[in-house]
């Protein structure tokens, strides 16, 4: 069966450290993988998109890697701040008709002072 797995346990880190979140998937061949941020009671906010032929993507303090052999994406936030505290969702885009996104359950990140 198809699965997208993210760490279900919350990740607590100290301010200034690097947060690393994991997204693993099985039985998918995504063309694109996207990371979103979701705050409580709000809609997902797009952060980064990485294509199947890209290994790494960066945007300011954010970095995403994509290993299609391992079927895994890692999402890094460097120099983390309390404002980074949120739930982070990975989503697969299979690039089939309709362009639907298939989301993981998300990992809650809490950055402490």
């Amino acid at each position: 069966s198809q699965k997208i797995e993210q760490n279900s346990e919350a990740l607590n880190i100290q301010e200034g450290k690097t947060a690393t979140l994991t997204c693993n998937y099985t039985n998918y061949s995504p063309a694109y993988l996207q990371w979103y941020r979701q705050d409580p009671g709000r809609g997902p906010v797009f952060l980064l998109l990485i294509r199947e032929n890209e290994k790494e993507k960066r945007k300011e303090r954010l970095k995403v890697t994509f290993d299609t052999t391992l079927k895994q994406s890692l999402f890094h936030i460097t120099a983390s701040q309390p404002a980074d505290s949120a739930t982070y969702l990975c989503a697969l885009d299979l690039a089939g008709g309709g362009n639907k996104l298939t989301f993981g359950t998300g990992t809650q990140l809490k950055v402490e002072l």
């Binding site: 979103y36 009671g41 797009f46 885009d93 089939g96 008709g97 298939t102």
Partner: protein, 116 residues
């Protein structure tokens, strides 16, 4: 910065009643989507819409659901006869998605639907 808007922010209804959730996508976008998120669960795809017709729909999107773009700006989701299990946060999204490329989806703030 352009954004997707949704109304109402919260809708309470009785089981069996019809509800219409409304969305205004970003103005130059071509693809429109509805997703839902039951409390504590993951975001789930319902339907995508392009060129005035459904492109793809999930198993959740049964005959009780319909979508419409009644004019050049609004995009609506109708649930004909609501059930208790329809209680969820409903998100509208839109993307530019030109042919031979892909584009990110921008989500609205959501409508919380509570079915009593």
């Amino acid at each position: 910065e352009p954004e997707v808007t949704q109304t109402p922010s919260h809708q309470v209804t009785q089981m069996g009643q019809e509800v219409i959730l409304r969305c205004v996508p970003i103005s130059n976008h071509l693809y429109f989507y509805w997703y839902r998120q039951i409390l504590g669960q993951k975001v789930e795809f319902l339907v995508s819409f392009y060129n005035n017709e459904i492109s793809e729909k999930s198993e959740i999107f049964d005959d009780q659901f319909s979508v419409e773009r009644p004019d050049g700006s609004n995009f609506t989701l109708k649930i004909r006869s609501t059930k208790l299990e329809d209680s969820a946060m409903y998100f509208c999204a839109s993307s530019a998605r030109y042919i031979a490329s892909t584009d990110t989806q921008y989500f609205g703030p959501g409508t919380r639907l509570t079915v009593l």
